[in-house]
Structures are given as C-alpha cells and as structure tokens.
C-alpha cells in the first residue's frame, strides 16, 4: 500500500484535469461512453488533451493516432529507463500499459531508493487509472458547467511534483551538464516549436550531454 500513499498528491492534482478533459471532449461531440473508453484505453493525459483539441467529426482516426504517437514518444525513453528495475517482475507488458509520467517518476524514485515491486507499481498505477477514468467521466457528464483548474493553481501542481522528484534525484555535480542541456533545449523548443516537441528536445539534449560524460558504473573504453 506504500504505492497508494505515494500517488495521493498526484490524484488530487489530476482530478480537475480529468474533469476538464472530459468536458472539452463533450464539447467536441464525444459521448460520455466514448470519453470513458478513451481514458480507459489510452490513459495518457497530455495526448488526450492534444487529440481532443484537434478532434473533428467524423474523427480523422489515423491523424489522431499519429498525434498520440508523437505526444507520447517520451514514454519510449521512460520505458527504457524503468525496464532494468522491472527485470524479473511478472506481467511487465501489463504494468507498462500504466506508464504515465507520474507513475514512471514515482516508480523510478522507488527503484533508486531500494527495490521496485509489482505491488508498489500497481499501488501507484491503479488508483491513478481509476481516478483518471472517473473524473474524465464526471467532466463528460457535466459538460460546460466547470471552471478553469488554473484558478486554484492546479496547473502548477504537476510542475511542483516533478520539481520535488528532481530534487530527490540529485546525485552530484555530474548531473549538472545533462540537466542544464535539457533545460536550455526544452525552453528553446517550447518557444519555437509546437507543444509536444519540447520534451523530446530536452530529453535528447540531456542524453547527448550524458553520453559525453564517462558513466560512473563503466569506465570509458577510449584510451587517453
């Protein structure tokens, strides 16, 4: 149940966004059944917001699927970084279905501070999944009768969660080059390119900086 306790702040922050996503989808002509089906099978907040924003009737399904692929490309990197910690855990393919940003970040923190179990991972994932499906349904049923989550600072809650997790991930000055490279590249991409690209730009710049430093676990094989 330690996973359930860790995910509570995320549940509180995500609920109003589920409501907002459901309401926006309803305005685009999706029924509550369709909204619930989307949240239950896709389970990716960012991709669902972008897709709903682009939604037209009849649905341009291939375009919407490719949009989801693009917005979620960061999950390829997240999956690669969490996979070594899921080695030997049964049902990995099912666990990875739930790899939302917050599940990834909290599961990785657990793995770095000890051992990640399927129970802990599901303790994070299942409450967040039910929370997202439930509140997007609430939004779809309420439709227009909702406010803007930014009014109460909810929009900043996700940034605050990621900042707090980042603070706990600091190992030493060797982390600085990848973090700085990512910050510069992501900010520049955010100002110059459409929304989904900044995450990949930052991640790739950080990886490039990480590749240039000798990894502590394996000494560089290049002779001096």
């Amino acid at each position: 149940m330690a996973g359930c306790a860790a995910i509570v702040p995320v549940l509180v922050a995500a609920a109003p966004f589920g409501v907002l996503m459901g309401a926006l989808a309803r305005q685009k002509g999706l029924s509550p059944l369709e909204v619930g089906l989307m949240s239950g099978t896709v389970f990716a907040g960012g991709a669902q917001f972008v897709a709903v924003g682009l939604w037209t009737t009849p649905a341009p399904w291939l375009f919407l699927a490719l949009t989801a692929l693009l917005v979620n490309l960061r999950h390829v990197l997240m999956g690669a970084s969490i996979a070594p910690h899921l080695r030997g855990v049964r049902g990995e393919g099912a666990l990875l279905f739930f790899l939302a940003d917050e599940v990834w970040a909290l599961a990785l923190r657990r793995a770095l501070g000890g051992r990640l179990t399927a129970a802990f991972y599901l303790g994070l994932a299942l409450p967040l999944y039910l929370n997202w499906v439930l509140f997007s349904l609430v939004g779809a049923v309420l439709g227009d009768r909702i406010g803007d989550p930014a009014r109460f600072g909810f929009d900043f809650a996700f940034a605050a969660i990621f900042i707090a997790l980042l603070a706990g991930m600091w190992r030493g000055p060797a982390d600085l080059p990848p973090w700085l490279a990512s910050a510069v590249a992501a900010t520049a991409a955010c100002l110059l390119l459409p929304p989904p690209w900044y995450i990949l730009a930052g991640a790739l710049a950080g990886m490039a900086a990480g590749a240039l430093r000798p990894p502590p676990s394996a000494p560089a094989t290049v002779p001096p």
């Binding site: 509570v8 029924s31 509550p32 059944l33 369709e34 089906l37 989307m38 099978t41 896709v42 897709a51 009849p58 649905a59 341009p60 399904w61 699927a65 989801a68 692929l69 979620n72 490309l73 999950h75 390829v76 997240m78 999956g79 690669a80 970084s81 996979a83 990875l96 970040a105 109460f152 600072g153 900043f156 940034a159 605050a160 969660i161 990621f162 900042i163 707090a164 980042l166 603070a167 706990g168 990848p178 973090w179 490279a181 990512s182 590249a185 992501a186 900010t187 995450i199 730009a201 930052g202 991640a203 950080g206 990886m207 900086a209 990480g210 590749a211 990894p215 676990s217 560089a220 094989t221």
Partner: protein
C-alpha cells in the same frame, strides 16, 4: 450513450499508439546491451526528461511560476513530497495574486 464507429477507431488507434511507446523502450533495452556512451546517455534519461517536462513552466511562463519553482525546490530539500507540492501550489497562487 452513443458510440460512433469512426470515433471508436480513433480511440483504439490512440490506445495502440500510446501502448507501443510505453513498451518500445523496455523491449529495446532488453535486446541491446548498452555500454560506454550509450549507457551514459540512458543514465541521463530520468533527470533530463523531468527537467524537460518542467523547463517551460519554470523558465518561460512568468516570474510567479519561476519564484514558486524555487520555493518548491527549497521545500523539497527538507520536507516530504506532499508538503513541498502544497507549498509550491500555495506559492504560485500567492505570486500570481501579488505579481498579476
């Protein structure tokens, strides 16, 4: 309760695309042993992705968000995650009210 076939197709397409991104990375690192620079790049992924997720909010939104980010960071060094997040959200609401 209506279910339009084109909408259903779009939802299932999005679900498949999302699932593929979530399993692809794990599938790849299972089959390819990463050493040297590639392993350095992979070790940089968690921090770099987290920084990229927050950078536009922290650096390019406004002084209220930048200040609240500093408050969150300082709080997270000393307090449990929940309290740091609560302080950060309170700080952004206060800064927005004060700074406009």
């Amino acid at each position: 309760m209506s279910l339009d076939p084109r909408t259903l197709l779009a939802i299932l397409g999005m679900a498949l695309a999302t699932y593929l991104t979530r399993v692809a990375g794990a599938w790849f690192v299972r089959r390819v042993a990463l050493r040297g620079r590639a392993s350095g790049a992979l070790e940089a992924v968690p921090g770099a992705v987290l920084v990229a997720l927050i950078a536009p909010t922290v650096l390019a939104t406004g002084p209220a968000e930048s200040l609240a980010a500093l408050v969150t960071l300082a709080a997270a060094r000393r307090l449990p995650l929940v309290l740091a997040v609560l302080l950060g959200v309170a700080a952004v609401v206060a800064c927005r009210a004060l700074l406009g």
